[in-house]
């Protein structure tokens, strides 16, 4: 089971920017309803893409520096990182089929 790992302002560089494989970052906060709907889907994706993409979560309440650096203005936002750069953004709740399609497109 590849459960998404929590990252924070301090660990973001190591876990995401310096990661050897692409990373999908789930920007969320506890009070955000749609985030709670996206999270289980992200967990399913983490299993399906195990070995190819790693998945992490960042609580925007606790980590404003990272959230602000990447211009997060609405959550849920999923950012796909490749070699330290954001290559795709999905803002707002989307169903699983959409997320997969967008993720696959960002990985190309």
């Amino acid at each position: 089971m590849a459960k998404p790992k929590e990252v924070n302002d301090a660990t973001f560089e190591q876990e995401v920017l310096k990661a050897p494989s692409p990373v999908m970052v789930d920007f969320w906060a506890p009070w955000c309803g749609p985030c709670r709907m996206v999270s289980p889907i992200v967990e399913e994706l983490a299993d399906e893409y195990d070995g190819k993409v790693s998945f992490v979560k960042l609580n925007t309440d606790d980590n404003p520096v990272t959230a602000s650096r990447y211009g997060i203005r609405s959550i849920p936002t999923l950012l796909v990182f490749k070699e330290g750069q954001p290559v795709g953004a999905i803002i707002g709740f989307r169903p699983k089929s959409d997320l997969k399609r967008r993720l696959d497109a960002a990985l190309v």
Partner: protein, 309 residues
């Protein structure tokens, strides 16, 4: 291959979930189809203070989840899909969605309503990047910034007050010179030092490249144009029913609300409508839930009368 159900419910807001609960308890094979987030409008509401039974209020998403779990306990199913059409087929109703087809003995339409847009330049481009229709969702990202709130009704003031928890200032831009919001909300708004009111004004453009930097305003009385620098614009100018795909099938008013009887029946036998999507809805969570239950009871009777086992 269309999946067969006794009752297909379109939309998993309070109306749909209450209908689902009653339908499932009537032992009807029931599915609720949702294209976005369970709870509909209340999924984004931080506290629902006026749903009876919760003296401390209840988080909208939590309430929706509880409604869903309660109905699922009795066998209601949830499905994903955006409904594109309903057609008659073999004495039943074929519901077509983005993700498959469903053949139902009865259909309950509880699709609710969606936010109205300003339809000005920059609005769509900057949605999610400073343009928002949900304060509880996005206000936290504009801490200590000045923001604009457009509208004069309950939503604009309620959500505008929420925004002031984070923003340094909230400019409430309203096209009239008085608010339509309820008295309690107006009192709170006028007493809030962070709220400033811009009367008789409309937004003509949302400015910014990567994110919102300001809005262009026009005063409706003087014709004067101005620019207001803000980091975000929260838009609360009403809702429209999600009934476009039903035009031609069901009788509706000019605004797209569906005409129903006291028992939520539409003109088409076997199709019912409940909640914000129907005419004369009071647009409250408790009313939507009441409508949903009524519709499900009627749908259950309809199936008994029309489909001899």
């Amino acid at each position: 291959m269309a999946q067969e159900y006794d009752i297909v419910i379109i939309g998993a807001g309070p109306a749909g979930l209450a209908a689902g609960l009653y339908a499932a308890r009537a032992r009807r094979k029931t599915i609720v189809l949702e294209r976005n987030v369970t709870g509909g409008q209340i999924a984004l509401t931080s506290v629902v203070e006026n749903y009876p039974g919760f003296p401390e209020g209840v988080n909208g998403f939590d309430l929706a989840q509880a409604m869903q779990q309660q109905a699922e306990k009795y066998g209601m199913e949830m499905g994903y899909g955006d409904v594109t059409a309903i057609e008659p087929k073999d004495g039943r109703h074929l519901v077509s969605t983005s993700d498959g087809e469903y053949l139902a003995k009865a259909v309950i339409i509880t699709g609710g309503a969606d936010y109205n847009r300003l339809n000005v330049p920059g609005e769509e481009r900057l949605t999610g990047r400073g343009v928002s229709y949900c304060a509880t969702c996005d206000a936290a990202f504009f801490k200590d910034q000045e923001v604009a709130v457009v509208g004069g009704g309950d939503a604009a003031i309620d959500e505008g007050l929420f925004v002031t928890r984070y923003a340094s200032k909230a400019y409430v831009i309203h096209r009239r010179d008085q608010l339509r919001a309820g008295k309690i909300l107006q009192e709170r708004a006028f007493a809030n030092p962070k709220m400033e009111f811009v009367w008789n004004a409309v937004v003509t453009e949302v400015l910014g490249e990567e994110a919102v930097t300001g809005v262009r305003l026009r005063n409706l009385v003087t014709g004067d144009e101005s620019t207001l620098p803000v980091g975000a614009i929260f838009i609360f100018i009403g809702l429209h029913p999600n009934s476009d795909y039903l035009k031609g099938l069901l009788r509706m008013d000019e605004g797209g609300h569906i005409y129903v009887t006291d028992w939520m029946e539409t003109d088409v036998p076997g199709i019912l409508a409940a909640g914000d999507i129907r005419v004369n809805s009071s647009r409250q969570v408790v009313s939507a839930a009441g409508d949903g239950a009524t519709a499900a009871i009627k749908a259950d009777h309809y199936i008994t009368d029309h489909f001899k086992e």
